[in-house]
Every structure is written in structure tokens, then in C-alpha cells.
């Protein structure tokens, strides 16, 4: 069965890039441009993993992470951000992994694979 990944990022270019790259790896990819949209899609069910951007207008990634972990504590969340210094934010500790964004997606794909193999 294909794994379903929810990509949450306010940058359209990045959403598309992740979608294409992850689909090539054999995953099914859902997209959300904001925190509320992501929570809506999670409500519908059958998401195996969330790829979450931190810096988004409105509800930021740390807040989305908190709500996801409250409601669906078994869905793994990978925090994804342009800025390495969020790593030390207590709010991000609840995530399953933390990835600094890069145009080279090798590391991200590797982490996704590792996490999904455990579920």
C-alpha cells in the first residue's frame, strides 16, 4: 500500500517540488498551503506522515505540530525549515525529525524512508 504524505508549506514552488520528488519515490502526496488547511486534510484521515514548514503566516508550524500531536500522536511529523536556529526551540522537540531545507532533497528523502519503515 502506498504511503500518504501531507506536505505543509506556504511556498507554492516548494510544495510542487516536494510533491513531484516524493511521488517519484512512490509516495502519495497531499498538499496544504497553511496550518488550518493541513488540519482539515488530517481530519479526513489516512495520512502516514506530515512534512511541516515552520515559518508560515497565520498559524505557524510549531502551533500546527502541537495540534497534530494532541490529536494524532502516532502520525510522525518532520519539521522542515530554512533556518537552522529553530532547532533549539522547545516547541520543535515534539517533532520526529528536523530538517534544514536544501535544494538537495537526499537527506529529507532518507529521513522519510527511515521514519516510514518504522510505522
Amino acid at each position: 500500500m502506498k504511503k500518504r504524505i501531507l506536505v505543509v508549506d506556504d511556498e507554492e514552488g516548494l510544495r510542487l517540488l516536494y510533491k513531484e520528488e516524493l511521488e517519484e519515490e512512490g509516495a502519495e502526496v497531499e498538499l496544504a498551503a497553511s496550518g488550518p488547511e493541513a488540519l482539515e486534510k488530517l481530519e479526513k484521515g489516512s495520512i502516514d506522515l506530515v512534512l511541516l514548514d515552520i515559518k508560515m503566516p497565520g498559524m505557524d508550524g510549531v502551533e500546527v505540530l502541537r495540534r497534530v500531536k494532541e490529536k494524532w500522536k502516532d502520525i510522525p511529523v518532520i519539521l522542515c525549515t530554512a533556518y537552522p536556529h529553530y532547532k533549539h526551540d522547545f516547541g520543535t522537540w515534539a517533532s520526529d525529525a528536523y530538517v534544514v531545507k536544501s535544494s538537495d532533497l537526499t537527506e529529507l528523502k532518507q529521513i522519510i524512508k527511515e521514519i516510514l519503515s518504522k510505522t
Partner: protein, 405 residues
């Protein structure tokens, strides 16, 4: 009548007029109140070598504009430190007591008074009369007081000059501060901009990598795509090294070992160091050197320093990294042998956007410096022009063992 000059001089001392006008008025006051035909005020040149006429009133005869260093009466009174009263029966005579002075020509009585403040001589006052003049006791006393007032005018002018210099220096310092603030503001704007650039850049790089995988292996477009990917990677590295200064307050209070952070930074450059034939000498403190740090930020600081060092050593050489403990400070030194900084540029190296490199941003050192400052540390540059640069970073030690190593 004679006391009028004292009153008038007193008014002049504190008046708002410039020195030139004050002295001209003084010259006329002396002429009006004492029985002389000519009054000249000579000031000593700044180098003390000559006396130059600064104010003049009365008879034009025997007017001397300047006494160069020599034996004129001005030098006589300066040397003696007292008044010279000269009487010559013959107005054609220009000599008095072996002193030759062309200013004596045409006069029978001359009084030359040094303008002294303690041992300091500002100049001399010349009073000349065509007829013989004998001053009474009261006149002499009044003359002495008037001369004291003249000295106070000169001293006042000197203080004003010092004051103006101080104001000028202050204004310059203020201008410097303003431009530094502007630079900090610009630096902040640049940091904001790099933030905004990062996301589209990742998108661009990701798409370029996708193109690379989609095109045929023997496609002529392949080298172009590779070049694109390489350049995007370079921009990404640059942005990663610049994102720190958006946070302002002090750093997050984590404790970490500086040796480990340095090793991490070095790892990041391992390929580049090898490619450029640069050796690395690690002179690390044996044991942990704990500092309170935002690890990622401090790594950015070291990355910048190491990147600068590598860029300067285009002919290879050895990069020396050392750490030690000194009086509660963790000291890290990054030393290159890349020729050093042109001494003319030393004042500017911490200014945002100042760069001598063709593809430099001028943000490396300012960002590094702001990171170190946020860590309550100090950054020092030891520039050995023609040889190399050593950047010394001192951070407060967070460990229990703060003794000298």
C-alpha cells in the same frame, strides 16, 4: 581718562567679536590712551620662529610686517621676559643696545612689551613715538593692566579655538556613529533579504536537479544544468551562512564544547580544503572548553572565518586553528597565511557590504562579529600585512574550571 582704557579693554575681552577685530580695537585703544604715534601687535608664529604683525594703528613709518628669527626687539623682550624702553636721540638710528630693528627708524621713543602668560609668550606689543615720551608711574601701571587684559584676550581666543576643535571632533564622532547605525540597519535589511531568497532558491535548485535527471545522459544541455546546480548550491551556502543576525537578543543558553563546534565547521570545508591543497593544524585545548552558545549561530561564525581564510590562501598553505583557556575566557584563533589585509582597509572590514573580493558580499565579518557580540564575546583581528591574518575570538567560559591553562 586713563582708566577708560581698562573699562574698554574689559568689554573687549568677553565681547563676541573675532580675534582680528578685537586686536585692531586694542591697538587703537592703546594709541588713544597713551602718548604714542604707532601701535603694533605682533604674534609669535605657531612654530615659534618668527613674529608676525596682527594689528596695527597710527603712523605708517617704520611699519614692519614680520620679524623672522633674529635679533629684533621682539626677540630681545621675549628673551629677557621684560619691557624694553628705548630712547634714541637720532630717529635715523635703527640700533639699540646691539639690537638692530628696522622698526626703530623715524622714532625717538619706543616701548616694547612682551605678552606673557606665565612663561608662555604669545607675542609683543610695540608702542612708538616720534617725540621723546616719559611715562609717569600711574601711566605705567595702567599700561601694565591693559597689557594683562590684552593677554587675557589672546588666552580667551585660544580657549575658543580648543573648544571649536573639541566640537569638531565630537561632530566627527557623531557622524561616524550615524553611519555605523546606518550600516547596521542595512545589514539587517540584507539579512531579511537573504531569508526571503532562501525558499525560492531551494525551489529553483530542486527543479534544476529534476531537469538534470530527466535529460539524456549524452545531452549537450547537461553541462549547463550542472553549472546551474553548482551556482545555486553556492548561493544556498551563502544564505545559510548569513541567516543568523535576524535574532537580536542574546543567544540561547545552551552549553557546548567549542572544540566540537570547530570540528563540525572544519568538516563542512573538508573537501574544499583538500581541493585547494590547504593543510590544517589543530592546536586544540586538551579537554572540553564549554561555552554558553547558540550552536548553529556559532557555527555560522566559524564557517565565515574559515571560508575567509580559505579564500585568502589561494596558493595553499596551512590553516591553524587553536583553542585555549585563559582567565575564564575560551580563546579561539583562526590563523591563515593568505597575505593579510591591506592596512588601508582595516577600518572597514567590519562594515556590512565592504568587500575586496569580486564575488564577496561584505557580510561575512559583520555577521560573525554580531554573533560573537551576542555571545558576550570579543573579536580581535591581528593583521600581519603581507603574511596573514589571525582572528581571535574570546568567549566567556561556562565550565567550572575557569583557571588559566
Amino acid at each position: 581718562m586713563v582708566s577708560d582704557i581698562i573699562k574698554n579693554m574689559a568689554a573687549l575681552v568677553t565681547s563676541g567679536a573675532g580675534l582680528r577685530i578685537k586686536l585692531r580695537n586694542v591697538a587703537w585703544l592703546f594709541l588713544e590712551n597713551f602718548p604714542f604715534d604707532q601701535c603694533s601687535i605682533y604674534m609669535r608664529d605657531e612654530n615659534g620662529r618668527g613674529f608676525t604683525l596682527r594689528a596695527f594703528a597710527g603712523e605708517a613709518r617704520g611699519r614692519v610686517e614680520r620679524y623672522a628669527k633674529g635679533a629684533a626687539l621682539a626677540y630681545y623682550v621675549k628673551k629677557e621676559g621684560k619691557i624694553a624702553e628705548v630712547y634714541t636721540p637720532d630717529p635715523a638710528d635703527v640700533r639699540w643696545k646691539r639690537v638692530e630693528d628696522r622698526g626703530l627708524e623715524g622714532y625717538r621713543s619706543v616701548v616694547v612689551i612682551p605678552l606673557m602668560d606665565g612663561s608662555r609668550c604669545y607675542g609683543v606689543l610695540y608702542l612708538k613715538s616720534v617725540k621723546k615720551v616719559v611715562l609717569g608711574r600711574r601711566e605705567k601701571k595702567t599700561l601694565e593692566i591693559a597689557v594683562l587684559q590684552l593677554v587675557s584676550i589672546l588666552k580667551f581666543a585660544e580657549i575658543i579655538l580648543d573648544y571649536k576643535e573639541v566640537v569638531h571632533d565630537l561632530e566627527q564622532a557623531r557622524a561616524k556613529l550615524l553611519s555605523a547605525r546606518k550600516m547596521i540597519h542595512l545589514g539587517g535589511m540584507a539579512a531579511e533579504l537573504t531569508h526571503e531568497i532562501k525558499n525560492p532558491l531551494i525551489s529553483l535548485g530542486g527543479v534544476a536537479s529534476r531537469i538534470r535527471r530527466k535529460i539524456e545522459k549524452d545531452s549537450t544541455a547537461l553541462p549547463y544544468v550542472d553549472r546551474m546546480i553548482k551556482e545555486i548550491k553556492r548561493l544556498e551556502d551563502l544564505v545559510n551562512r548569513s541567516v543568523a543576525p535576524l535574532k537580536d537578543d542574546s543567544c540561547a543558553g545552551e552549553i557546548d564544547d567549542i572544540n566540537r563546534i570547530l570540528e563540525d565547521s572544519l568538516d563542512y570545508f573538508a573537501d574544499e580544503l583538500r581541493a585547494k591543497g590547504i593543510g590544517v593544524a589543530k592546536e586544540f585545548f586538551k579537554g572540553k572548553l564549554m561555552v554558553e552558545t547558540d550552536r548553529e549561530e556559532l557555527k555560522i561564525a566559524f564557517d565565515n572565518l574559515i571560508a575567509n581564510a580559505i579564500q585568502s590562501m589561494d596558493k595553499g598553505g596551512t590553516l591553524v586553528l587553536s583553542t585555549l583557556l585563559n582567565d575564564g575566557w575560551v580563546v579561539t584563533e583562526v590563523a591563515d597565511c593568505g597575505g593579510g589585509i591591506d592596512p588601508r582597509n582595516m577600518d572597514a572590514i567590519f562594515n556590512p557590504f565592504f568587500t575586496t573580493k569580486e564575488d564577496g558580499t561584505g557580510l561575512g565579518l559583520p555577521i560573525t562579529s554580531s554573533i560573537i557580540t551576542r555571545h558576550k564575546g570579543v573579536i580581535d583581528v591581528d593583521n600581519r600585512a603581507g603574511h596573514g591574518v589571525t582572528i581571535k575570538i574570546k568567549l566567556p567560559c561556562a565550565g567550572k574550571d575557569k583557571k588559566r591553562s
